[in-house]
Symmetry: D2
Subunit: 291 residues, 4 copies
């Protein structure tokens, strides 16, 4: 991958998440000083200082991070042993591996590939999988492998999903559904085991399900929107990462809503992907904390 | 009422609405020339040039309009006789009479009264009716009569509504529900016989019903909104006039959402009221055309 | 060019522009009825009904428009003879020919080419000219000719411009500067003789001239913006077609401002190009009327 | 003052500002634990981890804060002695005292008074001073003292300013210019010695100086804006706290721009005032960091 503003050598990101208790900031920041790190960014949030949930994101610079990582992880584990907290540590010099699933509509797909090429997304793109072949040439012109897995409804659905799983398993850190028009089964999501980010073409929870622009036209709304969320078993009900809206009028047809909405979709999806790739998004129940 | 930018002597607004046919623009504009008028603003929209619905708003200047009105109405009727169209004519030098119904929350109420006093709304405000007494003094400081009609649930609801009807009947051209927390019955709306504009504190159709900010917090949305719509028998389902949204984060509590939403509510409601007062909004089925 | 929503067979657009006088709407609409046309869209604006400037845009459907065009033009000329008005008529089934000039930054260039390929812009793209070679392959992958004309400062500037003129002359209806970083001379613009649309990476008139994001960072603004305008002899002073802004914070570096601004730039430019291509923009002095 | 969401008993805010060095977060958070505090909100920013400027805002809960304050201040001083940092500590249960200066236009003034009454601003309002008398009754209806100090141009200006100073000195923590149309002298600002927040009716740095809406109309911009900033000796050049914009069209007159802009002004000013009152704004050179 090309050099990016977002990949920083010897930088790491520590996410901490659990029950709020006094002293977490002090314990974590002292530990980072102790291991020779310098805090570059620090965000925290508690949904209730009295027994609520606590969330923390710390980015620190530590020369020789990769070599020292086992030692650092041991320090973190020891530091947090007294608290009721989960944690994860990521190396900010290593891009996440992002696969993209798409269908016929290519605006979100191409937007992600172009941002990646510009160095605006700290990821690699090991593959694009589509149930259509229309985008094959475009995708490959970005130097990205393209695989065609036809979508099949009904009993054979599991065959398609099995094929997709075979391609993805072990090769990706997260998956983006860039207007992928197939519904993924709960079994697939469980087997896959990495986060899946979707872009829905409405301002959720308005217009859940199929054909949201048609429904928006029918209801006569004055704004349309788009929502990026983590995919769960419940269709269109997963934790929301980012949303935005744009003004429309009575004079816009459903086709015009789709055209205008496409701009919002690619903006919203690209922000959600960037924030996920930078470890800024923490899932908590059906919500997200975005630092 | 104080002089306003929006009240123009010898100006009239003609709304035309019905089946699209060739020649409507030519017929209407020739008629306006014939009666000695000069077109100041002209908007039209057809949802389908082949047999769709047609909407037109023409503002024209005609010296001596009030005296000539019967003659002008006869000309309009004759001109449109050959088309399948309804029409209405309003004198733009005469402010509409707007009653406001409110409850405890006063942000929308006071915002409308301020704007009115500044000359930013081409209306008179003959009265404010509330099911609480808290705003009485504020309302009267604007020189506006205040009436307290306690809201009653259950069988006595009709008594309250009868009292409100008695106050409003014949005295108002439209009614604004400025965060009025009582549900008006279908009978009341029918008896009243003038348009009723509501402000709902969500981006409809998301979060229909009570406590939308609480629901928004639970769903974890990243934008909240407000919707102004005409009131119909179906709660929160009437034709939408205007909507807007504002960005929020995970860190905003439901109370904070309410505080931030209050700003959107008063902006959205004031725009809807202004457009209605200027005869810019045409209802068509469950939609609005806003010129 | 692929079929587009925006290209309509047998549709024409008549722009009328000049001194306001009573009777223009009636005269134009009667004429359109007379020539067998049906009005599809009608917009008008007067900056002062008493002796101000008048602007009108009428889209009408007229079966057999192309064959009847000379007859229709004669009718228009005769109809408007008694008014102090200029007019122009365009065939809405014929796409405008749009050349793009670009430099190293490719976000605006690629965005326009994508939208064009999707059928979202009613134009053809006969060529892209750049003072860099980096985008050659991308441009050609869209089936669009690419020409490299190195930019030269100082006395030899005229040589570059002459070469560009040679490529453009007679082949284009308008030119888009998609982050083209060379300043075009007044002589070039005069020789070219077609409208030139630029995208400036600031909210004009703030941050005129070079390096607007750096200046925005230095001034500590909380929003950055982009402006699309027609190019005139006065750098960054031409009539503004469209603008937009996006929120930034103290934590965004100048590089981050540029990254975030790139999204605003391509949105703003694409809207300006679409509106120009649809004959929605009328220039008047240093302003635009956008219908 | 009425109880407010924003005033929290036993909560304090520590602002730290100076040269970035490793270990600041650890030192501050350990100190807060040591004094028996629990961190409720923590924000930090460094404009350059290598020798840049560092900014930190910590809100902590400490039972019995007021009584323990001298001890806590001594701990802070000792903790930060080894760093090159300035600090300030505020008691978040004590509202700041905000005076408002206004002229004829009352939209910003009334908006602030109403928000204050609703409990949405953690301040008291000891007085309003105006160079006009029009708002006297309105201001007093909020229970706020009103003083009339006529504005005088030329040599007598210092007399007015002296009178204002006499009223303000010792009685206020900050001053808000709510569309106050007199220019305050550098001497006045120096004598006053507390922050002064202004609302300018343009998107600075566009349209510096008088009559920005007229200038915006002349330039033909498609968005207008408002800017709230700290007042310095250089007119319209002080550090920007908050800005926003709203869309306008060619059809909006300068008067209409002013009407639409008034909504943006009061939103922008109210956000700036809230953030200042909550100690969220740190000045640094001609910039602000807003946490």
């Amino acid at each position: 991958m090309a050099a990016s503003l977002h990949l920083n050598p010897d930088h790491a990101c520590l996410i901490v998440h659990g029950s709020d208790q006094p002293g977490i900031v002090a314990a974590v920041s002292a530990m980072i000083t102790r291991i020779g790190g310098n805090i570059v960014a620090f965000d925290q949030y508690s949904d209730n200082p009295e027994g609520g949930a606590y969330f923390q994101r710390v980015v620190f610079h530590r020369p020789g991070f990769a070599a020292a990582r086992p030692h650092i992880e041991a320090e973190i584990a020891q530091t947090l042993a007294g608290f009721d907290l989960e944690w994860s540590l990521t190396d900010q010099s290593v891009p996440k591996r992002m696969a993209i699933l798409s269908s016929k509509q290519d605006h979100c797909l191409l937007d992600l590939l172009w941002r990646h090429r510009r160095g605006d997304l700290p990821v690699t793109v090991p593959m694009v999988i589509s149930n259509h072949t229309a985008s094959a040439e475009d995708v490959r012109s970005f130097g990205v492998p393209f695989f065609h897995v036809p979508g099949v409804a009904g009993p054979d659905k599991s065959a398609s999903e099995a094929k997709i799983l075979e391609l993805l398993r072990g090769n990706v850190d997260f998956v983006v559904l860039a207007r992928y028009m197939q519904i993924l089964s709960g079994d697939f999501l469980k087997e896959l085991g990495v986060p899946v980010i979707n872009i829905h073409h409405s301002f959720l929870p308005a217009f859940i399900g199929a054909e949201p622009y048609k429904k928006a036209k029918e209801r006569g709304v004055k704004l349309i929107g788009a929502t990026s969320h983590y995919v769960t078993d419940d269709l269109d009900e997963g934790p929301i990462i980012e949303q935005d809206t744009v003004r429309v009028t009575h004079a816009d047809s459903a086709a015009e809503l789709a055209r205008r909405g496409a701009d919002v979709e690619r903006q919203v999806l690209s922000r959600a992907v960037l924030w996920h790739a930078e470890d800024r998004v923490i899932r908590h129940g059906n919500h997200t904390i975005v630092f």
